[in-house]
Amino acid sequence: MGNLEASIVLAGVGGQGTLIAGKLLGILALKLGLDVKVSEVHGMSQRGGSVITYVKIGEEVHSPIIEDGTADYILAFEQVESVRWASLLKDGGVMIINNQQIESLPVLMGQVEYPKNIAESMRKAASKETKIVDLDAFDIAMEIGTSKVVNIVMLGALSNYLGVDENIWKEAIEEAFAAKPKTIPGNIKAFEKGREAGA
C-alpha cells in the first residue's frame, strides 16, 4: 500500500498524551500495511517528567530506538523538550514545536531560568535544509474545549509532511478512540486545526 518510511520522535512532558499519539501512529502504519515499532519508557516518567516516544515506520523496522541525527520528524509537545531532544533530528528533518511552556520544578523554584525565544534559537542553530514549524497547539486545543487534544493537534501538523491521505488519518483516529466514541469529533477537529496551523 504505502511506501512511507519515517522515524518520528514524540517528546513532551508526562500527561501531554505522547503515548496515545504514538499508539495512533502505530495504527496508521498498520492501515498502510507497513511495519512499525513504537518504543515507550514507563516507570519513573510519572507526571511532570520528560517523556519520549519513538515511532519507526517502514517496510521492515528493526531497532525501536531512534538515534542522534536519524529522526525525520520531531514533535516537541513543549518548548524546552524541543531543545532537549534536538540532536536526534537529521540534517534536513522537520521539527514541529508546540509553543507551550511547562515550567519544571527547578524553574518554578527560581534555581534555573526557562530559556527565552526557543523557536528563534532553534532556527539559528539549524542547518539550511532543516525545517522548523511552531504552532500554539495548546491554545488550539483549548478553543476546541480541552487540553487533552494537544497531541492530536500536533499529529495534524505532522500530517502535512507525511504524505498520507487525510481520510486514512481520520480512520486511524476513529480506531484509536473507539473505546471513547464521544471524544472522536473533538479529536477529528483537533486534527484538522492542527493540519491547518502546521501547514
Binding site: 511495519d35 518504543s39 531543545v83 526557543i118
Partner: protein, 590 residues
C-alpha cells in the same frame, strides 16, 4: 488478524493462546502490563500475589495439578522466587509452567541491572528470549509446549525495550483451557534427598537432550541463521538482534531464540563459516563465556560495555567505519534545557511525612517505591535503599549494631505493598529479637510506583472486585508489636507526624507508625475537581516556607507570594499546615 501490541501485551496474548489457566505475579516495571493484560481475559484465573515467591509457588501448584500456569516479574523479582525455581527445575511439571522475567538494562526504573540469564544456567532451566512483540507472543505460547515436552519450567526473558515497545502481532486462535489429570507421584514431586538425587540425573540428561534436539532442528530452540556476507558473523539474541540488524545489515547472524542451554554444534558450524565472530549481548558476557568455553575464538566484551543499553550506533561505531549521521542542529548554539527531575506528585501524602523526618534529622532506612524519591530535595530524608522489604531489616540491624542506642534516631520507612511483600517477616524478627526500632508504614492504599495495582491491604483484587482486606494494625499486633506502640497518623499533618515519630523513637520496644492517606492519583485520594487551596494575599508574609516544600501545584509568584495551580492542586492541605501566618486555606472549608 493483525494488531499493534506492547511486548508485554503480546506475552499475555501468547499465554492466552496457549490455554493458560492461572497467572499469579507481583507487579514490577517493566513487567507489570503482562499480568494486567491477562486480567482482561475473563476465562483465566489471575491474581496479584504479595510477592514473587508466592506468585511462583501458586503457579507451581497449579502446574502440578495439571493446569498451564505462569508467573511474571521484573529481574529483581527473580531473586525473590529463585528458591522455588531451582527446585521445580528438579521436580518438573504437569501442566506447562512458565516464568516470565523482564530485565532492565539501563535501569530505567530499577535498583540494579542484573542479567537474568544467569538464573537459567544456575537453575538448569531453558530460557527463551524474544526480540519483538510478535516473538513475545510466539515464544510464550511455545514455552508452554516446551515445558510439557521436556518436563521442565521454562523462562521467557524480556527486557525494557521489548516489554515496552509496540509492534505488529498476528493473532491466533486460543487453545481451549484444559486441566490434565493429576496422579500421585511422590518420586517426582517430593523433593527430599532420596528423590532429588535421582532427579538431578534427570535434569542433566534433560539439558543434554534439549541441546541435541536444538542442534538437530533449529526450530526447537527458535534459532535463526541468516547468512549474508561471511566476513563478519554475529551471535546475538533478543533486542540486541534488532540493533545488530540496523548497525551491520550485511553481516551474517546467528540469532538465538533459546539462550540457555546453547546449541553447541550449531554455534560451531556458524563460527566455522565466518571470518570474524563477534558476540553482541547486553549486560554480562553470558553467551561469550559459554562460546569461549566451547573452544571457539570470538570477540565480545573487549568491544562492548558491560553497562547499560546498547544502540545500533554503538555497534556501528565498534564494527564499522561508517560516518556518524549528521544532526540538524549545532547543539552548542542551543540554550541549556532545564531538567525535569522526578518529584513526588502534588498532593502526595508521603511528602508531609518525609518533611517531618527531614526536620527531625533522623537516619532513614528506606525502601522500594515512589517514596524512594524522599531521598531527593527538599526532603533529602533517605539514607539507604537496597531492595524490597530491606528497610525493616536495616533499621533492626542499626539497633543491634549500637545495642539499641541508634534506635533513638533511626527509622525504617516502607510502603503498604512493600511491607506485605517482604517487610512483615523482618518486623517479626525485630520483635522476636527485642529490637527498639521504629518502623513507619506509608499506607497509600495502593501499589503506587508500578502504576496502581491492588494488594492484600486495599480491599480489591486484580479485577477490582471487592476482596478480603488485611488490617495492617492487626497484622503488626499479631507479630507482637505492643498495641500502644502502633500509632496511626495522617502524614499531611506534618507537625503532628513529627511529634508522634519523636515519641515512638523514645520507646524501648518496636514501634510501628502507620501514616495513612490514599495516593493522590487514585479515586479515593483525589480531591473534588475545582476545589483547591486558596491564598489570602493580605495575610501572606512572603516568607517562602510554602514554596520550600516543592509541591508541583504551588508556584512561587514574582512577588514571592504563592500561586496555586488549580489544575494540579489536590487540596491535601500540606502547604496549609506549613504556613505559620494562616495565609493558606483548604478549599471547600469555611
Amino acid at each position: 488478524m493483525k494488531e499493534i501490541m506492547l511486548g508485554n501485551e503480546a506475552v499475555a496474548r501468547g499465554a492466552y493462546e496457549a490455554g493458560v489457566k492461572f497467572v499469579s505475579s507481583y507487579p514490577g516495571t517493566p513487567s507489570t502490563e503482562i499480568t494486567e493484560t491477562i486480567a482482561k481475559y475473563d476465562e483465566i484465573a489471575c491474581e496479584w500475589a504479595p510477592n514473587e515467591k508466592v506468585g511462583a509457588e501458586a503457579a507451581i501448584g497449579a502446574s502440578i495439578r495439571g493446569a498451564r500456569a505462569m508467573t511474571c516479574m521484573k529481574h529483581v523479582g527473580m531473586n525473590v522466587c529463585a528458591d522455588p525455581l531451582f527446585t521445580v527445575s528438579y521436580s518438573g511439571v504437569n501442566g506447562g509452567l512458565v516464568f516470565c522475567v523482564a530485565d532492565d538494562p539501563g535501569m530505567h526504573s530499577s535498583q540494579n541491572e542484573q542479567d537474568s540469564r544467569n538464573y537459567a544456567r544456575a537453575a538448569k532451566v531453558p530460557m527463551l528470549e524474544p526480540s519483538d512483540s510478535m516473538e513475545c507472543k510466539k515464544f510464550t505460547k511455545y514455552a508452554f509446549e516446551l515445558s510439557e515436552k521436556y518436563d521442565t519450567p521454562v523462562i521467557v526473558r524480556l527486557h525494557t525495550r521489548v516489554s515496552h515497545s509496540r509492534s505488529i502481532v498476528h493473532l491466533g486462535d486460543p487453545t481451549p483451557i484444559t486441566v490434565k489429570e493429576y496422579t500421585k507421584d511422590p518420586k517426582k514431586y517430593v523433593m527430599m534427598p532420596a528423590n532429588a538425587i535421582g532427579k538431578h540425573v534427570v535434569v542433566e540428561d534433560r539439558t543434554r537432550k534439549i541441546i541435541n534436539d536444538c542442534d538437530d532442528d533449529l526450530n526447537v530452540g527458535m534459532h535463526k541463521i541468516e547468512y549474508r556476507d561471511t566476513k563478519l558473523g554475529i551471535i546475538t539474541a533478543g533486542a540486541a538482534y534488532q540493533y545488530v540488524r540496523d548497525a551491520v545489515p550485511n553481516a551474517s547472524v546467528l540469532k538465538l531464540g533459546m539462550v540457555w542451554p546453547l546449541p553447541k554444534r550449531t554455534i560451531k558450524e556458524f563460527a566455522s563459516r565466518v571470518d570474524r565472530l563477534v558476540i553482541v549481548e547486553e549486560l554480562d558476557p553470558f553467551l561469550e563465556t559459554e562460546i569461549k568455553a566451547m573452544g571457539i575464538k570470538c570477540e565480545g566484551k573487549e568491544l562492548f560495555t558491560l553497562l547499560g543499553e546498547y544502540t545500533a550506533r554503538l555497534i556501528r561505531k565498534r564494527l564499522t567505519d561508517k560516518p556518524i549521521p549528521k544532526s540538524a542542529f549545532d547543539v552548542t548554539e542551543l540554550p541549556l534545557p532545564p531538567g525535569r527531575p522526578p518529584v513526588l506528585c502534588a498532593g502526595c501524602p508521603h511528602k508531609g511525612l518525609f518533611l517531618a523526618l527531614h526536620r527531625l534529622g533522623v537516619n532513614v532506612m528506606g525502601d522500594i517505591g515512589c517514596y524512594t524519591l524522599g531521598a531527593l530535595p527538599p526532603m533529602q530524608a533517605v539514607d539507604a535503599v537496597i531492595c524490597m522489604g530491606a528497610s525493616v531489616g536495616m533499621a533492626h540491624g542499626v539497633d543491634k549494631a549500637t545495642d539499641g542506642e541508634d534506635s533513638k534516631n533511626t527509622v525504617g520507612v516502607i510502603g503498604d505493598s512493600t511491607f506485605l511483600h517482604s517487610g512483615i517477616t523482618n518486623l517479626m524478627n525485630a520483635v522476636y529479637n527485642q529490637s527498639k526500632m521504629t518502623l513507619i508504614i506509608l499506607d497509600n492504599s495502593i501499589t503506587g510506583m508500578t502504576g496502581h495495582q491492588q494488594n492484600p491491604s486495599t480491599g480489591y483484587n486484580i479485577r477490582l472486585e471487592a476482596a478480603p482486606q488485611v488490617s495492617l494494625e492487626m497484622l503488626c499486633q499479631s507479630v507482637g508489636v505492643l498495641p500502644e506502640a502502633i500509632r496511626v497518623i495522617d502524614p499531611v499533618d506534618t507537625y503532628e507526624a513529627q511529634k508522634v515519630i519523636k515519641e515512638e523513637l523514645e520507646r524501648d520496644a518496636v514501634s510501628v507508625i502507620i501514616a495513612r492517606r490514599p495516593c493522590a492519583l487514585i479515586p479515593t485520594g483525589r480531591a473534588v475537581k475545582g476545589i483547591n487551596v486558596e491564598v489570602d494575599y493580605e495575610k501572606c508574609m512572603k516568607c517562602g516556607a510554602c514554596a520550600r516544600i516543592m509541591c508541583p501545584a504551588l508556584i512561587m509568584g514574582k512577588d514571592k507570594t504563592p500561586v496555586i495551580d488549580t489544575e494540579t492542586c489536590n487540596n491535601c492541605g500540606l502547604c496549609v499546615n506549613i504556613c505559620k501566618f494562616d495565609a493558606l486555606k483548604k478549599g471547600g472549608e469555611a
